[in-house]
Amino acid sequence: MNDFAKMQLIEAYHSQQLDATQQSQFDELYLNDIEFAKQVEDFKPIFEGFEMLHLEAFEKQIQSWEIANQLNPQVNQPQLVAHKGGLWRKLMVYVAAAAILIAAPIFYWNSQLTENEQFAHFFDPNTMAVMIPAVRAGGLTPAKELEKKALEAYVRKDFAVALPLLQEYSNVHKDSVRIVKSMKLYIGISQLGLNKPAESIASLKDFLSFNEETISDYRQEAEWMLALAYHRNGQKDEALDLLQQIAQQPNNEYSSNAQKMYGMLNQK
């Protein structure tokens, strides 16, 4: 059995997903192959850590569904399984009547959401797309080290640490238009995270003014963040215009959030 197949067995074992055939292969290797048994043990804390991080991420995911649900309770009630028959209908009438009683406080809560809570719901920078320089043999140059530290802080969403580092990195490369402009996205989002919307608007506009092709992968996020920054800065008309544009693009990943936010701002 090659290393790749062994790794798949180890992963399936720690994820508790071994089928009967894999289980017998695993047992045999574990008993007869010392290196394999060592690898299995070495991976134990790694997979346990992954599961804890997965649990943490899942809880955050549930909170985001919940906020979306409370902001827009009518839209988020899909029916996955079709039910038919009189009994079901009667039950639905009963459930609907009771739901009015239960939902009333939720609607009330919804209308009481503060602007900060709304902002916290929508402000979710996509840090998965950030490419942090990997450490290679021989180490990193000081500039790369600075970039790594800045982006690591940004990925942790520690904007107070990230912002000055990003600005410093940008200054180091002030002769490179490409680097200066590309850093503007992270700088603008960090400024927004630190509740500096006016500065954020300037940075994000600067980013969006850059060569179309170079920034195309990040344009959607930059526009969405700019709409949030307008809203945060009290520029309601600018925010609504931009949200409408985003909401009308079916392939835009922020389209559904833009629709929700547009609806909320329009109610005020």
């Binding site: 290393d3 790794m7 549930i62 919940e66 899909p78 459930v95």
Partner: protein, 190 residues
């Protein structure tokens, strides 16, 4: 039941959209049931619902629930019932008027709430977070998408622009190998 078992398979393969739909599907009936039967407020009912949903997800993901003997809804209500019992036991409160809306005893042996207890294990979590910070991209991204966000290989192909799932599996395997080496170095260093 066949359709619901198909839903289980889809959850296991990693399908966040489907999970969100399920969450919204059962949320209101669960809150109604909980508030009526356990005389709790909305916040408490919601907290239990979220925990029950988390237990459901991890039981499916970890293969503890592979085949449903009752509906998915019955299963999630049964988890909720267990969690309410624990809650009342912990607070020495008496459960008032439990009206069984469905028979949940049939699924009791398929439920494992232990995932919620593991949450305290901060050390392992921070250890792996530290390793991921060090490993850099694309390994950090690919491992995070699969093991932290729970995405399936197909979703990772779309998210990272790889040509097919085979490439993702191969990459993942190499990244895990690197992660192990880094973990051993880190331990030797300590």
């Amino acid at each position: 039941m066949e359709k619901e078992n198909e839903i289980l398979s889809a959850i296991k393969l990693g399908n966040p959209k489907l999970l969100e739909q399920l969450y919204n599907e059962y949320r209101r009936p669960f809150l109604l049931w909980a508030v009526q039967n356990y005389k709790c407020d909305d916040d408490a009912a919601l907290e239990v619902y979220q925990k029950a949903f988390t237990v459901l997800y991890f039981n499916v993901k970890n293969g503890k629930l592979q085949q449903l003997t009752s509906s998915l809804k019955t299963y999630i209500f049964a988890i909720g019932k267990n969690l309410f019992y624990e809650r009342f036991r912990d607070k020495s409160l008496q459960v008032v008027h439990i009206d069984e809306v469905m028979n949940t005893t049939a699924v009791q042996d398929q439920i494992d709430n232990s995932i919620l207890e593991h949450y305290q294990n901060n050390h392992q979590r921070e250890f792996v977070r530290q390793l991921l910070d060090k490993i850099g991209d694309p390994c950090r991204k690919i491992l995070s998408l699969i093991f932290i966000d729970g995405l399936g290989h197909k979703e990772v192909v779309d998210a990272m622009g790889y040509s097919d799932e085979r490439v993702v599996r191969k990459r993942k395997s190499l990244c895990l190998k690197t992660l192990r080496e880094m973990s051993l170095q880190l331990k030797n260093h300590d």
